[in-house]
Amino acid sequence: QPPEWAKPNNNGNTDDIKIGLSISTLNNPFFVALKDGVVAEAEKQGIEVVIVDAQDDSAKQSNDVDDLIQQGVNALLINPTDSAAISNVVQTANSLGIPVITLDRSADQGEVEALVASDNVKGGEMAAQYIIEQLGEGAKVIELEGVAGASATRERGQGFHNIADEKLDVVAKQPADFDRTKGLNVMENLLQGNPDAEAVFAHNDEMALGALEAIQSSGRDVIVVGFDGNEDAIKSINAGGLTASVAQQPALIGELAVQAAADVLQGNEVEEMIAAPLKLVTKE
């Protein structure tokens, strides 16, 4: 606990509500959309938002949240870089009586008012299911994983393997860090090593789009299923590139989180888990 003399005296005017948003990284369209959702909804409700960007560094994120608390925010919206690493920050906020809502990823410890996220395990299962529908059981699949250790990676992988381990043949998996360039390079190499692959499941659309380039220039016929449903991916699906994407609604996650925060600040109860619906996008 910080010493008493150092604690901020929150006797400023409580009329204007101010919330802090700590984002894991803004170098990714998904989180940019999520942030935009928060900003739009906050504007609608007349709430001020202060945004900090951890650039995928857990330590920076705890510094960032310290700085947000310093600015006297009434509530914290946190999109953790890592679920374990964020725990202390949440506990600090708890001790100061600042309510916390996490977005997209959970916090392992500490009291969180609500988690607003897609059900990533379910999303992984949806992807596996879709591939089975398209190619039948036993199809040979390559899995492109997200940033190692990220909850999205773990959960999507978990969901995917829940089904794929029994009904599909996962011939290779490699992380490509949610990054399009890496998706391209990793895929090029994996294709060479696994010429008989029939499908790819990528933990997000950026990697899926990279993989797609690799597949197209190899002239092979492989279906690609992504995750996120971002603008580019949907365009590609409609143009006959990507086969499908498990669409999240990042902006909605942002909106729901602001609503939850407003509720909490007004003293209302909120659901512990607020799920933003997932939707499988394919070419219609």
């Binding site: 803004l26 994996l190 060479q192 580019d232």
Partner: protein, 322 residues
Amino acid sequence: MTSVKETSNKKGLQLSQLAGKLGPLLGLILLIVIVTIMNPGFLEPLNILNLLRQVSINALLAFGMTFVILTGGIDLSVGSILALSSAIVANLMLSGLDPILAIIVGVLLGGIMGMMNGLMITKGKMAPFIATLASMTIFRGLTLVYTNGNPITGLGDSMAFQLFGRGYFLGIPVPAITMMITFAILWVILHKTSFGRKTYAIGGNEKAALVSGIKVDRVKIMIYSLAGMMAALAGAILTSRLNSAQPTAGESYELDAIAAVVLGGTSLTGGRGLIVGTLIGALIIGVLNNGLNLLGVSSFYQMVVKGVVIVIAVLIDRKKSA
């Protein structure tokens, strides 16, 4: 000195020079043999073509880096220049500029960014490491500001632009052709012109170069501009390959480029090295990446292997020259 000594000296010299040139090449061949034995698929034509295309971006960055390192400098900003110029090129294309023209503008802009490095280093007397560390941060920040963190997409389907990163010409990937042409031009500049001589002279003994009337500052500024242009060229290829400009493109590419230069036998203290070594160094890294993937080595172990290969290569190089 007796003539006997001289001859033995000279022979030793030539042999070690030869070894210096051949060392990286032998390493590359060894690597290819190992990978092929473990997975014969490696030598399939398509894989080789892929490999060449994959290598081209790092090779271009490393070519520019070779000049920089030969002068005793370093350029950490190439990855950021790649990203910023790529974003600008993409935006120019979106606003209707002809893709080839956009690429040319992009390369020139890359040159200007490189020139800023050069100015900080010469006129500002900043250490190259710290100057380019700063500009790496600045250019990356500007890229993110410029793109708002989002990729720039919808670049249309100009045939020329698509070919630039993805196409084939006479059965060879266009990026590989770009790489080879660039290599040839830079080889001539480095080894057959007085500009190349000056590059070596500055790295070998900067004070003496100055006293000998070489316009050290000007040569350096031109070299950092060249490195910037190479980065922008690599960026244009990447933009075409990804059919979009990525704000995070090129992150930590400088390290691979530096590794290629060093694996190619160029000394980080400047004055010694060959651009053909850099080409081989880039190929070594490419074969390693590609080969380890083919062999199904996990990406975690890949990092370890890459680091160990660098250490071994450099140690062998040191042994030889000792």
